[in-house]
């Protein structure tokens, strides 16, 4: 995974994406909040969902308890 280091810690961009999910947000909103390119946010959110750090419902992303814990670790 591009967002999770081999030791389980998150990359800076992954942490930034999760921190932007304090409330449900679209990829566009996360891109504006993090100043990351939209393609990178879409890819990162896909990985966060796969790693169970975020969930997606009708285009809105929300972080899980695991995601919240990881983003502040």
């Amino acid at each position: 995974m591009a967002c999770v280091n081999p030791d389980g810690t998150l990359t800076a961009s992954a942490s930034s994406i999760l921190r932007a999910l304090t409330s449900p947000a679209t990829p566009d909103q996360v891109a504006r909040a993090t100043d990351l390119p939209l393609y990178r946010v879409r890819s990162g959110l896909r990985e966060m969902v796969e790693a169970k750090m975020a969930t997606e419902h009708e285009g809105l992303y929300e972080r899980t308890d695991l995601g919240a814990a990881k983003s502040h670790a």
Partner: protein, 226 residues
Amino acid sequence: METERNTSQPATSLPRLGQPAPMFEAVTTHGVLKLEDFKGSWLVLFSHPADFTPVCTTEFLGFTQLYPEFKKRNVALLGLSIDSIYAHIAWVRNIEEKFGVKVPFPVIADLNKEVATAYGMIMPGESKTETSRCVFVIDPEGIVRAMIYYPLTTGRNMNEIVRLIDALQTADKYKVATPANWQPGDKVIVPTPNTQEMAEERVAKKGEYELVDWYFSKKTLSKTGV
């Protein structure tokens, strides 16, 4: 009589202008990316023959130098070569070390040649194992709008790619065409009449445009574009 096919070679396709770009999901230096991740922005997908080669390095420096111009125009850049992800990472780090330039865009590591094959990037007459210097301009809806093919020997002109983007975006926005060597601010081509009635009206209204003949009119785009 049906020709025998060499089933050991993958079928090579070539994208067509005006048609959807071939979908892909690929390992890149910025993680796994799909074509749909770029929806909503323009995309310049470009291939280079190999990492750690001199012409390719000058092209990466050129694309990086013009990155702000692409970004200003809502254009994402995405490189590709048939090299491993580790070669890509080592190369962009080497470029930063030797040239002081950090490559900001992702590069596809297309070791299984899947994307290269879908986009017709391999020219066997040049090389069976490396992509030629191909450029695909894909619009925000995922449609291929322009293609450029350059040989292994010859580095591309990034200013021309920016100019091409300007021309396409101007054509889309103002429903005009652009003449040879057009630069932003130059006169644009008014679309040619395609009925006899329209041709007569065009000639009758010649004061509105710089008219040479019914099929050849130019105009200046005002600040409002009208």
